[in-house]
């Protein structure tokens, strides 16, 4: 009994109500953000293909994805007869919850950080690979061969590219000496890490963007849902809001990858050359501006490059990215040891 009351005390002390409110705000903001990322993707895709894109619903088509979401909410939730019902229903929540959990640790600006954990980067890497369990569950339980193939490919891809994500971030952690995200930002007050770490940092950034794109299962690494081969991949059998969860999670994951890159390589909410240091709330603007530039870069990748074959995917990771990453890690260690970093 005593231990239970201790736990309750602990919950009350840290403020369950506060936590719930923060969680609710984050949930709302990022659900809307996810919707607008979908819209942005469609617009950017249209511009890359010399089209116009959605421009009918609302001013300049701004409410297109909101209308789409409303439509998806009103759709019937279908499933296959032989589906494993429990896992089938669980899978979308796995995917969306893990991607929303990752958002908690980002410092959007100086004081706007929900959860300043001292192993922030480790948490992000760990959480981002939990999402693949949701994909595997969805693919397995929906009793559909396309979904299963998609899910298995996702497993292969995420397990391989997880290494590169981890190692490229580790390269930067050598420079910062801390896994805590607020600490990492603090270090960058004397120059963004991509400048401080110069050559190895740029290589690490390139590797991170490549493997990050693979982590989010987006083109050119979209073998997971490869429309031309697998229907819709792991979410072939999902409809309505459950499908929307998968879809939303993909876009929030893209935002997360871009936000990690912003935090670790481009100084997070710090303004370039400290031009707006007197206005701390502008940090949010700088964070989002940098993140959206990187999101745009990922969209640019998507609408330029053709899809890789699965053997090419594994060759790229195991023969190129991983060895380069390991060498890069050593180079970075030597540079930090000899204090060759560039600081202002």
């Amino acid at each position: 009994m005593n231990s239970i009351s201790n736990i309750i005390d602990w919950f009350v002390n840290i403020g369950v109500l506060n936590m719930a409110m923060i969680a609710l705000i984050y949930l709302t903001v990022f659900a809307v953000l996810g919707l607008f990322l979908v819209l942005l993707e469609r617009k950017v895709a249209a511009w890359f293909q010399l089209r116009i894109g959605p421009n009918r619903v609302g001013y300049l088509g701004l409410f297109q994805t909101i209308a789409d979401a409303l439509k998806l909410v009103s759709k019937e939730l279908t499933g296959t007869v032989k589906a494993d019902k429990f896992l089938y229903n669980l899978a979308p929540y796995f995917v969306i919850v893990t991607s929303l959990m990752a958002l908690a640790v980002f410092p959007f600006t100086q004081d706007l950080q929900a959860f300043d954990i001292n192993i922030g980067i480790f948490f992000l890497i760990a959480i981002s690979s939990v999402g693949v369990i949701g994909i595997l569950l969805g693919g397995w339980s929906s009793n559909n061969k396309f979904a299963l193939i998609g899910a298995m490919r996702s497993g292969v891809q995420t397990i391989s590219y997880e290494l590169s994500v981890g190692l490229s971030l580790l390269t930067m952690v050598i420079l910062t000496g801390s896994l805590q995200l607020s600490e990492i930002i603090e270090v960058q007050k004397s120059g963004w890490l991509i400048v401080q770490g110069h050559i190895p940092a740029i290589i690490a950034f390139m590797i991170f963007m490549i493997s990050g794109t693979a982590e989010t299962n987006r083109a050119p690494f979209d073998m997971v849902e490869a429309e031309s081969e697998l229907g819709a991949g792991y979410h072939t059998e999902y409809s309505g809001m459950k499908f929307a969860y998968f879809f939303l999670a993909e876009f929030i994951n893209m935002f997360i990858i871009a936000a990690i890159a912003t935090t670790v390589f481009f100084g997070g909410w710090l303004s370039p050359f400290g031009i707006t240091d007197s206005l701390p709330w502008l940090g949010l603007f700088w964070f989002l501006a940098k993140t959206f530039v990187l999101v745009f870069l990922m969209m640019w990748f998507r609408w330029t490059f053709p899809r890789l074959r699965v053997d090419q995917l594994l060759t790229l990771e195991w023969k190129y990215l991983l060895p380069i990453n390991l060498v890069n890690l050593v180079i970075m260690a030597v540079i930090v040891w000899l204090n060759l970093i560039i600081q202002f």
């Binding site: 249209a46 511009w47 890359f48 010399l50 089209r51 116009i52 640019w300 330029t304 490059f305 190129y320």
Partner: protein, 158 residues
């Protein structure tokens, strides 16, 4: 050293691709190929090669150049063209001559293959640029291409 030159070339080709799409992205505003169809109905002009329907151009004297040779009717794979013809007596020479009464074109059956237009020796039939072909009644898709009272242009047959 093939390993490193591979990486170098890979990055080079990727950047080339991104340059191409980047150019498209920047020009998307003025170069968009999308036609916002019902809105630009008045200004929309179909391109030269567009195959909307088969038409028979008539000049200002209400004359066409169809001699009634029926090559189009033979060329049509699914019988979309029917030609009702007759022999008329040419007043100048007193000889009998083949002339069309009605050139019937069934748009409802036409697959826009273009064999009739290719087969026509006198360029009497052409592709029209009209694409708003929906009607409420199927019979309206059967069109008589030669206008009433029209006749073949003199000198086409030679």
């Amino acid at each position: 050293m093939g390993y490193f030159s591979n990486i170098y070339h890979a990055i080079g080709t990727l950047l080339t691709g991104m340059k191409v799409t980047g150019k498209y992205f920047l020009n998307a505003r003025k170069g968009a190929i999308t036609q916002q169809y019902p809105d630009n109905r008045d200004t929309l002009k179909m391109f030269e090669r567009f195959r909307g329907e088969v038409v028979m151009p008539h000049d200002e004297n209400n004359e066409h150049s169809c001699t009634g040779c029926q090559k189009c009717e033979i060329a049509c794979p699914n019988g979309s063209i029917e030609i009702i013809w007759d022999r008329i007596i040419v007043p100048e020479t007193g000889k009998k001559k083949k002339a069309i009464d009605q050139h019937i074109f069934h748009l409802g059956m036409c697959t826009q293959c273009g064999l009739c237009v290719d087969a026509c020796p006198t360029d009497a039939i052409k592709w029209g640029q009209n694409f708003e072909n929906s009607v409420y009644d199927r019979t309206q898709l059967t069109r008589i291409l030669n206008k009433p009272g029209s006749k073949v242009r003199a000198g086409v047959e030679e």
